[in-house]
Amino acid sequence: MSDDIRDKVMLMIEKRGVMMRPRWHFILLSALAAAGALILIVALLYVISLAFFFLREGGMLYTPAFGGRGWFELLRSAPLLLIVLVAIFALILEILVRRYSFAYRAPLTMSLGGILLLVFVGGFVLAQTSFHRSMEFAAHRGHLPPPVGFLYGQTFRPPRPDDMHRGVIITQSTGGFVMVDADGDGTSTVELTPQTRLPYGEDFAPGDMVIVIGDPVGTDTIRAFGVRTMENRPDTQ
């Protein structure tokens, strides 16, 4: 029986044209997989940094300073579409690298977790640069190709919670301040109470951009639960 297998295999190789695939075939496959993995890593970095950029621009990234309610505001304004994209890209990346020993030797949660941690840190760092601001600027002027420009539209932008307001202070008084809404919704009077959370103190002044969490009192007044300054943007000053 042993000789039988050997003879049959050698017969198929020598007489029936079973061919050895050339080395370049495997090199090409590996190169394609590596290129695919690289593209996915770049895409993940891009999408995660875009999510951080949107959250920071919308003010949601500043709310955890207000405690539990602030964390809740951040969670409910999470950019779900971008998170779904991240999950899809990360899964495809895991499948692509799973055939390599560095990936399959680690438990799935660790290799996937490692990938996500790396791209999260990378994405956060990228979001601190002016890259997305420049891209957004170019997208609004129609200077980017449609798929990239579309990313900076409203579809992927997380909605800001109703009780969250963003604006530039124009006048300040003892009991609060008046601000111009950053989204062009007119002016609002912000009322500070002894319970208002000011994580960095009352360190704001006219001209500062602030984020306010609070409920409306009357038509144009907000009783502030928390107030803190935001990084001023050149185009909103």
């Binding site: 029986m1 042993s2 039988d4 297998i5 050997r6 049959k8 295999v9 050698m10 198929m12 190789i13 020598e14 079973v18 061919m19 050895m20 695939r21 050339p22 080395r23 075939h25 495997f26 799973r98 055939r99 020993s101 399959y104 030797r105 680690a106 438990p107 799935l108 949660t109 660790m110």
Partner: protein, 186 residues
């Protein structure tokens, strides 16, 4: 001194096609034993082993001769066997999502069994292997019958090394349970 598998494979990669027969000779008995124990059906084992060698020949240029040949060909064999089981049990899923591979385990690394324990396990294995799920049957075969270490088994099954330890421990426990059950009826 006889050439190593890796040296023969390198020669075949370099154009000495006829020397592939040497690799077939070295591995056919091992792969036939692996097939019989894993598939539990000697009928199509020979055809499947033949296919394994053909696949190995077709993909030989992907083999890195600086690494060991044995885990490489066993990996091909594992894939072929799993496909054969899937075909045979088309209505049942042979391997589903494996939670053992999801999380890290604190399982001890490759530990040598005592001679007595190993002898007992081998005896129980021969009697009750067919009663185990393929997921647990396969690491037992590779560890006890093919004398592979944890790392080699991990490379063949593409699972974490700690998962190999977990599966072997569970498989041994299952074997003991089977053996006890039989003793009670005897």
């Amino acid at each position: 001194m006889a050439e190593t598998d890796e040296q023969v494979a390198l020669a075949v990669q370099g154009g000495a096609t006829n020397r592939f027969g040497e690799l077939v000779e070295r591995y056919e008995a091992k792969l036939m034993r692996y097939a019989r124990k894993f598939l539990l059906d000697p009928e199509d084992a020979q055809d499947i082993v033949q296919d394994i060698f053909i696949k190995a020949y077709e993909n030989l240029q992907s083999f890195d001769a600086t690494r060991r040949f044995s885990p490489w060909i066993y990996r091909i064999a594992h894939n072929e066997f799993v496909n054969a089981l899937k075909k045979r049990e088309s209505r049942r899923t042979v391997f589903t999502i494996d939670f053992d591979t999801l999380f890290p385990h604190l399982q001890a690394a490759d530990t040598a069994d005592s001679a007595a324990l190993e002898r007992d396990t081998r005896e129980t294995l021969e009697k009750h292997l067919d009663k185990l799920d393929p997921k647990y049957r396969e690491p037992l075969i590779l560890y006890y019958l093919e004398s592979m270490d944890y790392r080699e088994i991990a490379d063949i099954l593409h699972i974490p090394v700690s998962t190999v330890g977990v599966r072997l421990a569970r498989a041994r426990a299952m074997l003991q349970k089977q053996a006890k059950g039989q003793t009670m009826y005897e």
